[in-house]
């Protein structure tokens, strides 16, 4: 099980072997929508890393210190989504007041993140694998770093493909999916790296 593995393995597993975008298929809406240029992909990627790590630690604490002692595990879906949504709002306010430069860099991506399934998924997966707090921290960092990595590579390839001669009906989104398929094929190669 993942909760007995060492931290480095947890990171690699979340980052490469079970890459959230290409192997687990989460966060695809923003993956396809935003990755048309590199600059906004980098912004989105970093914002996701930032929010995921913090929001996952928070929801881990809420689950283990609030829901488990009162036997309210069935409320976890509602609780997590509310925790994440209110946390993103809160963080947006703090960043706008204290770090205006960072706020300008994140721009519209911060509020958009609330509906990004990467965050909720890594909160759920951390609970499902019964990880400890430190493991959960590393796990959520691995997942969000995998997202960041994937979306930046994808955006660079997609900028190149704009000028390539491709069939008329494949222009736009379809070719992006074929591209994602090829990248996913490459990521499947990491499967032999470790035995779970």
């Amino acid at each position: 099980m993942l909760n007995q593995a060492n931290l480095f393995f947890i990171f690699l597993s979340a980052f490469l072997i079970n890459n959230i975008l290409l192997i687990r298929f989460l966060g695809l809406c923003s993956f396809i929508g935003i990755s048309t240029d590199v600059k906004s992909s980098i912004g989105m990627g970093i914002a996701v890393v930032f929010v995921t790590v913090m929001a996952c630690s928070l929801s881990w604490a809420v689950y283990n210190f609030l829901l488990v002692p009162f036997h309210l595990e069935y409320l976890r879906t509602t609780t997590f989504i509310l925790t994440i949504a209110s946390f993103v709002q809160f963080e947006e306010m703090i960043i706008r007041k204290k770090l205006p430069a960072l706020y300008r860099a994140f721009g519209i991506y911060l509020p958009l993140i609330t509906t990004n399934c990467v965050i909720l998924a890594s909160a759920f997966l951390g609970i499902d694998y019964k990880l400890s707090f430190i493991q959960n921290l590393i796990f959520s960092f691995g997942i969000s770093f995998g997202y960041c990595f994937g979306i930046i590579i994808f955006a660079t390839i997609r900028e190149e493909i704009e000028i390539a001669p491709i069939p008329e009906s494949f222009k736009g989104v379809p070719i992006a999916f074929i591209l994602a398929a090829l990248m996913s094929l490459a990521f499947l190669g990491f499967k032999g790296l470790f035995k779970l």
């Binding site: 290409l22 192997i23 687990r24 298929f25 989460l26 966060g27 695809l28 809406c29 396809i32 929508g33 069935y74 409320l75 976890r76 879906t77 509602t78 989504i81 509310l82 949504a85 509906t115 990004n116 399934c117 909720l120 998924a121 759920f124 997966l125 499902d128 069939p167 008329e168 009906s169 494949f170 222009k171 736009g172 989104v173 379809p174 070719i175 992006a176 999916f177 074929i178 994602a180 398929a181 090829l182 996913s184 094929l185 499947l188």
Partner: protein, 215 residues
């Protein structure tokens, strides 16, 4: 008396109480996956076998219809600036109900869907329809819209999972269809297969659209 006023108001707004066009919209003209590109994550993730895909489709139909119904009932009493959190709580409630019903009645499908089942709550189709349709329309039309969108979603996920299961495993709904000499395309059942199939499906849709424009 009140009912009469209601009918008159409806006539003045020139809206039909039950409009079947709304239902058909979801299936083709505004199909959530092909045309608006929403709700891609569960579509790709659970389309490895037809049975799981149908389970997912039914769960989405239930959540979409239920949340559209409740949202359109409460649309007039919810203050405008807290509407999104309220909608999310409504959706999360329906997702929790679905999660526990599936766990009780078909534990195998519940196990296969895994984390993707609670993640219906962030499926953009559902919040999109609650915000874009149910918060502006009456109860009957909202239910129809939920059903239409849900069936449109299920249709696409059914097509994708059929292609993947038949090519990748040589089976359909668990039944062998090619006999023992068939060498399955393993790639189709693995993650890249899902991206290939949806890429070709959207390309086909663009081809059909271009073809009909020429005529």
């Amino acid at each position: 008396m009140e009912l009469e006023n209601f009918w008159r108001k409806l006539k003045m707004e020139n809206k039909r109480l039950i409009d079947f066009k709304v239902f058909l919209n979801g299936i083709w003209r505004e199909n959530p996956i092909l045309f608006i590109m929403l709700g891609l994550c569960p579509t790709l993730a659970v389309s490895g076998s037809v049975r799981d895909a149908l389970g997912m489709g039914i769960a989405v139909i239930f959540v979409l219809t239920g949340s559209n119904f409740v949202v359109s009932l409460i649309r007039k009493i919810v203050p405008n600036h807290v509407r999104i959190p309220v909608f999310i709580v409504v959706i999360a409630t329906f997702v929790t109900i679905t999660d526990y019903i599936l766990a009780a009645y078909s534990p195998q499908i519940h196990k296969n869907l895994g984390v993707y089942l609670p993640l219906i709550v962030v499926n953009c189709i559902i919040l999109g329809r609650a915000e874009g349709f149910a918060s502006k329309n009456n109860v009957f039309n909202s239910i129809l819209d939920g059903l239409g969108m849900g069936i449109g979603f299920t249709l696409i996920i059914f097509i994708i999972s059929s292609v993947r299961e038949i090519l990748g495993n040589g089976t359909f709904m668990g039944r062998n269809i090619f006999g023992s000499n068939f060498e399955p395309f393993l790639i189709m059942i693995m993650p890249p297969g899902a991206f290939f199939v949806i890429g070709f499906l959207i390309a086909l849709k663009q081809k059909i659209e271009k073809g009909s424009k020429k005529c």
